[in-house]
């Protein structure tokens, strides 16, 4: 936990065009307000602000939509910060007692895009691949890193059953046409002329 916070605090904020920058600004005012709102909600619900939780200080940040990388600890399943999409640099940390509980917590949100598991236990990895209710699961890798030739998308409130990317998207953008060619020269009735 402490390591996460230390590393989060070391991330260099700034304009994305500067080579030393590691984290850029949010997209606009509404996005930053939303993040500020959820960090407040999380604390009201009983989560602890471990780091971040504010705009960065300094003149360099005055005219941009910057927000410090933020970590909330003590987050419990069912809290709004656990259930709702914040779309900003806020990490919620939830402690669970077992893999089963972790899977339950993952599956008990309305969304279902991606998930990941870090383990060296092959049985646990395969259990997770099978039981995590998402469109994509990563093993020993973060939930970022989809490749263009595999289907991308999620279940539940994340999508409506279609996938982007990969071979599946070509079905989405085309229509199936079925053609029958009868070259017998006579009327053949399907389902009726069944003697063959």
């Amino acid at each position: 936990m402490q390591l996460i916070c230390e590393r989060a605090e070391r991330l260099r904020l700034g304009p994305g065009l500067e080579p030393v920058t590691e984290v850029g600004p949010l997209i606009n005012e509404a996005a930053r307000k939303k993040v500020e709102y959820y960090v407040g909600v999380g604390q009201e619900e009983g989560a602890r602000l471990a780091t971040g939780g504010a705009k960065p200080a300094g003149k360099a940040f005055e005219c941009g939509w910057f927000y410090r990388p933020t970590v909330l600890t003590g987050v419990k399943p069912g809290m709004r910060v656990e259930q709702e999409e914040i779309f900003g640099p806020v990490l919620s940390v939830i402690r669970v007692g077992s893999l089963d509980e972790a899977i339950r917590v993952n599956n008990d949100v309305a969304y279902g895009l991606s998930s990941s598991i870090y383990t060296r236990n092959v049985n646990a990895a395969f259990r997770a691949m099978q039981d995590l209710d998402n469109g994509i699961t990563y093993v020993n890798a973060p939930t970022i890193g989809a490749e263009a030739h595999l289907p991308f998308g999620g279940v539940k409130q994340t999508g409506n059953g279609h996938r982007e990317g990969g071979w599946e998207v070509y079905d989405f953008y085309s229509e199936t046409k079925v053609v029958y060619v009868d070259y017998s020269g006579k009327l053949q009735r399907a389902q009726i002329d069944t003697e063959g």
């Binding site: 304009p15 997209i27 402690r95 669970v96 973060p142 939930t143 263009a148 053949q188």
Partner: protein, 296 residues
């Protein structure tokens, strides 16, 4: 002198019928005005549909492998222009150049993949239950696809929609996010330079509630693909359901990461930081739950 950008409708860069514009500013420095972009309305969408229907007639009859060649050239041009497009993207969207270059690379990968698909698009041939009878299926183009994209991947996500739609022989009308309209115009320039017939691609800038809504509701648009919020997706879904339009929705995410006791913790730490704070947390796959297990 503020630059004024245009829509791309009916084969040319066109001002909006509304004569109304919005500002596009750098999120890292809001004193940096990138330009004014069209705040389009239903009339702009109507013109785009009229042109796209013409574009579709020509493009749908172009052999799929030939359509694929155009997308191959698109990939080559994106490789050549990666640095320039990435910097423009960072300026209007905010994420670091390392990531916007990755965003362009995803477009390159998608273009080359689409190119090869032009020589597949497999149908199926199956036996008939009768003698002297042939039965098969093939994939044919649908018509005009309306594409609505978000700000967080200004180039990559649009290419996921545009390139397969084009490869399949459809014409596309694209309403990009009002936060990243400049990247959209740069991608259209690439498509045209690669040899895409001009009426096959249309870009209508503006806000979701005006331009986006008009696009979804226009009867001349057969397919809608939307990436964005779950609330907006529900509204689009209702309209498409009523109008019997094919619809692909890609919306919110929560994306838990589970770290078990036996995990390589250094690896997990690198992953959690990249997942939670990359793109300033503005990815639909951003890590927002991090779950540790104390006994596994």
């Amino acid at each position: 002198m503020t630059e004024t950008f245009r829509n791309f409708i009916a084969g040319q860069w066109a001002p909006p019928a509304t004569d109304d514009y919005f500002e596009n500013r750098n999120p890292a420095d809001w004193n940096d005005l990138i330009g004014l972009f069209p705040k389009s309305g239903p009339e702009d969408v109507r013109r785009a549909v009229e042109s796209a229907r013409r574009g579709f007639v020509e493009w749908s009859r172009t052999p799929a492998p030939v359509r694929g060649e155009v997308l191959h050239r698109v990939g080559d041009l994106l490789v050549e222009q990666k640095e320039r497009i990435a910097r423009a993207m960072t300026r209007e969207m905010g994420k670091v150049v390392l990531e916007t270059k990755g965003d362009v690379q995803e477009g390159v990968d998608t273009a080359y993949y689409a190119h090869t698909e032009g020589r597949r698009l497999f149908g199926r041939t199956v036996p008939s239950e009768l003698r002297n009878k042939w039965a098969m299926s093939y994939r044919r183009p649908i018509g005009v696809a309306g594409v609505i994209t978000p700000f967080n991947f200004p180039l990559a996500v649009p290419t996921w929609k545009l390139f397969p739609a084009l490869l399949c022989g459809n014409a596309v009308i694209w309403k990009p996010s009002e936060d990243v309209p400049h990247t959209a115009n740069l991608l259209v320039e690439v498509l045209l330079e690669a040899g895409l017939p001009p009426e096959v691609i249309q870009v209508v800038h503006g806000l979701g509630e005006a331009a986006g809504k008009a696009l979804v509701e226009h009867p001349g648009v057969d397919v809608i693909s939307f990436t964005g919020s779950t609330d907006t997706g529900a509204i689009i879904g209702a309209t498409c359901g009523r109008m019997h339009k094919r619809l692909s929705l890609e919306m919110g995410g929560k994306n838990a990461m589970i770290v078990l006791e036996d995990a390589d913790l250094d690896l997990a730490l690198d992953g959690v930081l990249w997942g939670a704070f990359g793109t300033t947390g503005q990815r639909c796959t951003a890590r927002s739950g991090y779950t540790t297990s104390s006994c596994s």
